[in-house]
Amino acid sequence: MTRKTAAPGGPATAEGPPAVALRGATASLGGRPVLRGVDLTVAPGETVALLGANGSGKSTTIRAVLGQVPLTGGELELFGTPLARFRDWQRLGYVPQRSTAAAGVPATVREVVAAGRLARRKFRPLGRADKAAVRHALEQVGMDDRAKDPVDALSGGQHQRVLIARALAAEPELLIMDEPLAGVDVGNQEALAATLREQVDQGTSVLLVLHELGPLAPLIDRAVVLRDGQVERVDNPDRLHDLACHPHGSEPAEAAPAPKIETGSLT
């Protein structure tokens, strides 16, 4: 596993082009600069966590990586291909924040997860292999027994697992997750961590926004801390233990001379 050997600062030992290479990215939302020169690299098989206070640009960064927020400057390459020429969307699995999947008509768990498979099928009908992939994705998140239930009947944590299964249905090489632990109870957090560990062990790259590392801490190779749209710090794995003990979500965002978290323990 490359993630075991990855150097703290970069993917020196990884093979092939990085899954994500974002250089000097700037972006604005409604005229307000949100990203002000973000560099972010996710090597093959690497698990990178984006941390930072609310409004620091975490979600905008991953939405930029997905091509959903246009960059006003800088470069983005996915699997070595510039975004403008990137077409292999099935190599990406996106898990949005939970609230975005609400709709006006009931849908079963399996129907929602099958939508993820369209990344591979596009306009062709789903075949036997696709149905098997959907079933396997549901098994991976431990929701196969709820396949015929409406998603409305699920708890927040179960719903989150369904959204992860939807991303896994395309068998992606890179998982991009926005706050997968938000509003998820401890039991479901453990289930999510187990699913993610399985993916990481298979060599899937992961980029995820987190408020706190929680049970995912042992999986994280590198944590990138954003502040006001810029990378404030890149933490190496050795420091992650400390970071996990002092989750960023609990830090006050507005404190003017906010003490850099564990600055003393770096160097």
């Binding site: 997905l66 091509g67 959903q68 077409r87 969307w89 099935q90 990406l92 996106y94 949005p96 609230s99 975005t100 999947a101 609400a102 709709a103 006006g104 008509v105 009931p106 849908a107 079963t108 399996r110 129907e111 929602v112 099958a114 939508a115 993820g116 369209l118 990344a119 596009k122 306009f123 789903l126 015929k148 239930d149 409406p150 409305d152 009947a153 699920l154 708890s155 927040g156 719903h159 939807r166 395309a170």
Partner: protein, 312 residues
């Protein structure tokens, strides 16, 4: 009962009703899923201008309505993309403009009057001509090919648009296709149900079906079944009672909705007690639908507006 089938106009009316009963809910389900239930209503208003243009230019009003309402639907879709704060106002303008333009143009045309419009507003079983039937069958085939053939893709787009974009689906194209399909459905349905009530047939069968179903495919199937039942029985009712079929079809649909609601309420209560989320009641992320409802609510005139559910 059987002797009405001897009349060619009744055969045509029943065939049209059958096709409308299938097509309207099959397209409406995506609008409901996206909380844009009122969109069909807006297209109906715009189609009125197309009908009137057909009279003015002495061409078939059905094809003219297809053209104008498709342009209107594409316009609404563009407003949804680009318009943020003023979107509801722009939609309301489209609604008013469609209605006013229709009434104005029909009175300018040599052989037209508001009386001509009435059959298009509320439907009429006696006016489905042989020429209309050809158009209705052809357009229905198009609508069903899109709404059933692309159901997985349209489901994905309407369920979670951003996720659909990240899967690499051509989301903008699919949205435009859905808008045009909805416009075509409106024109297919206008001969039977009428432009003012067509939205009801796109929404009420779906609203009724989803009270008894747990999944999208089941809702789609059941709502099409409901649609066929109410359009056929409504058309037959019109034959005997001599009322516009649009009115009888929509009244029957609402009765059906009431029955299903009464039967499904205990079931739904149990289902939601099991689920701890219950987010259906909160209507999260309903802002987009809300603007459309606002636009439609102000444009909808007449007492029938209160019959139409704006949200389901």
């Amino acid at each position: 009962m059987i002797e009405m089938l001897d009349f060619p106009f009744m055969q045509r009316a029943l065939l049209a009703a059958l096709l409308v009963g299938i097509a309207a809910p099959a397209v409406g389900i995506y609008l409901v899923q996206r909380r844009q239930a009122i969109m069909g209503d807006g297209i109906g208003h715009v189609a009125l201008t197309g009908v009137a243009l057909g009279f003015l230019l002495s061409t078939n009003p059905v094809w003219m309505a297809v053209l104008v309402s498709s342009l209107g639907a594409i316009g609404m879709e563009l407003i949804r993309w680009y318009g943020k704060a003023r979107g509801d106002i722009a939609l309301a303008m489209l609604f008013y403009g469609g209605m006013a333009g229709g009434v104005m143009i029909i009175n300018l045309s040599p052989n037209g009057s508001n009386a001509n419009l009435t059959t298009y507003l509320f439907g009429s079983i006696t006016t489905v001509s042989a020429e209309d039937i050809v158009a209705i069958v052809g357009l229905s085939v198009f609508v069903l090919l899109v709404s059933l053939g692309l159901r997985r893709q349209l489901f994905a787009v309407c369920q979670d648009e951003e996720f659909a974009r990240v899967t690499g689906l051509p989301v903008r194209l699919l949205n435009l296709l859905l808008a045009v399909t909805a416009a075509v459905t409106v024109t297919v349905a206008m001969r039977v149900v009428g432009l003012l009530l067509v939205s009801a047939l796109m929404v009420i069968p779906v609203a009724a079906a989803q009270q008894a179903t747990r999944g999208f495919a089941a809702t789609l199937g059941l709502s099409v079944g409901f649609g066929v039942v109410v359009t056929l029985s409504g058309t037959v009712t019109s034959y005997y009672a001599d009322v516009p079929p649009g009115a009888s079809i929509v009244v029957l649909a609402i009765v059906l909705f009431g029955i299903i609601t009464a039967l499904a309420a205990p079931l739904a209560r149990r289902r939601y007690r099991n689920g701890s989320d219950g987010r259906d009641g909160a209507v999260p992320g309903g802002g987009r639908g809300g603007t459309l409802v606002a636009g439609g609510g102000t444009a909808a005139d007449g007492p029938e507006a209160s019959h139409r559910p704006t949200r389901v």
